[in-house]
Amino acid sequence: MNLEPNSCCRSPIHDWEPRSRIASMGLLMLSIVTLQSLVLASMGLAISFGFLVLSRISWKRVAGNLRWPVLFFMPFLLILPFTVEGEAVASLSYLSASRQGSLLGLLIFLKGCAAVILAQVLQGCCPFSVTALALRDLGVPDSLVQIFLFTYRNIDLLGQELSSSFRSMSARGFERQSNSRTARVYGNAFGALLLRSLARSERMFFAMVSRGYDGHLPKIKARRMNLWDWMKALSVVFMALALQSPGVMGWSML
């Protein structure tokens, strides 16, 4: 399993200094998720697609990663039309879908998808460790960054250990069924995994301490921002502000 297959590609987003990329794109995401207009949210989604194209990261992978967020946003599209009061646009038996509810559902769906695509561009354009250390430089607490880093490093390891547990269960004739025994066996497997993780984390801690670790990740001198980095950051901040300006000005956009 490769968790960062796009981090070694080259693109204007890849070449961008990480701190300014995170700060400005974070601002853009915030701007998009606070939009209250369908037209502006559609523009936000279009901007996200623009960044996706520019980043040259795999569309297939992004689409795959979008599955779950889309499943999460879908209920808004399906439920809100029937639960928000307003002008009825369609009726189904005793249920009637309101225009306001449909638009609200669509707005949440568009904003959510735009934010998830941007987050993938942000995360997929450099190794996770670079993003994590840039977050620390931006003021995220060191301990939180370490938790991100070490969790990220070990997700794969835990996955391997769990699949080897399941393989060994299958080798001894275990078959998954919808009964309490299966639930018990799964509970035991996860419990054993947690215990092994505890023992492993202790050994990892020893290995880190033996190399001089004192509870803090060492500081690494960050790359200086050049003119291009500034221009990219300012352009993105401008987009974020531009998306907000109609709302601030009180212009009506659906």
Binding site: L157, A207, S210, P218
Partner: protein, 276 residues
């Protein structure tokens, strides 16, 4: 003579109360190499953890003359490089380069020095081409070498290895052995714990037989010739030595005991008077 490692009267009990080490005493000269042999649960790994101050028992441990106490831990850890049995425990960062640079950065070296040391360690272990790879994408043999690189990048004077060749295929094992031989030749003091009695004659001048207490300590060939002593500890003689010891007990061989392939070949040629 200044010793690289001096352990005196070391005792350690696990939190549950089980005694892991009892009155362990030994010394190892600078540039020397020691093989730590013993059955499972003999306390080998526990003893190694004391050399870096990761565990603290009663008694004393000295590294290059300085006692391993809280005040000296940074000094000690800079000089004692540890390679753990499972490389997954040691490879913690998202890329190999960051893992190898982790130690030098913790030492507070400037980035130029960090790069120099990390590159040297990666080149010494033959991993320079894989520096940007994620440790999880490496084979087990590569992970073992990578773990060694993470310790070497701190340029330790003493290298402590826990089961350095366990679970390795023959080729990876040969690579690791060759690397450790070259480190030994360059003056690094080496302490390794292993079950592999065939590995010990290749890398260690001395052997410490441990089973919670020091059962025996002496020259590697001297200890590894003692079949009864080894078997009492659940170990066995090295392959060549075992074979020639049997021939000797049958009165068919009377020369020196061979421990390596080369020595065994010479012994056979001598015994059969073969000529080139």
């Amino acid at each position: 003579m200044e010793y690289a490692v001096e352990v005196e009267g070391l005792c350690y009990s696990y939190p549950g109360g089980d005694m892991a080490l009892q009155d362990v005493t030994f010394r190892l000269r600078q540039g020397g190499s020691l093989g730590l042999l013993g059955p499972n649960g003999a306390g080998k790994s526990t003893l190694l953890l004391h050399l870096n101050g990761l565990l603290v028992g009663t008694g004393s441990v000295r590294i290059l003359g300085r006692r391993v106490v809280k005040e000296n831990l940074n000094w000690v850890r800079k000089r004692v490089g540890m390679v753990f049995q499972d490389p997954e425990d040691q490879l913690i960062m998202p890329s190999l380069w960051e893992d190898v640079a982790f130690g030098p950065r913790n030492l507070g070296l400037d980035e130029h020095e960090v790069e120099k040391d990390a590159l040297w360690a990666l080149q010494a272990t033959g991993m320079a081409d894989l520096a940007q790879r994620s440790p999880r994408s490496l084979s087990f043999g590569q992970k073992k070498r990578a773990a060694l690189a993470t310790a070497l990048s701190m340029r330790p004077k003493i290298l402590v290895l826990d089961e350095p060749t366990s679970n390795l295929d023959p080729r990876s094992k040969r690579d690791v052995v060759a690397l450790m031989k070259s480190l030994k030749e360059s003056g690094t003091t080496i302490i390794l714990s292993t079950h592999d009695v065939n590995l010990v004659p290749l890398l260690a001048d001395e052997v410490l037989l441990l089973n919670r207490v020091v059962v025996a300590m002496g020259g590697a060939q001297e200890i590894l010739s003692e079949r009864k002593l080894l078997e009492e500890q659940g170990l066995e003689m090295p392959l060549y030595a075992g074979l020639f010891e049997e021939l000797r007990s049958e009165g068919r061989y009377s020369g020196p005991m061979p421990f390596t392939c080369e020595q065994a070949k010479s012994a056979i040629l001598r015994a059969s008077n073969w000529k080139k």
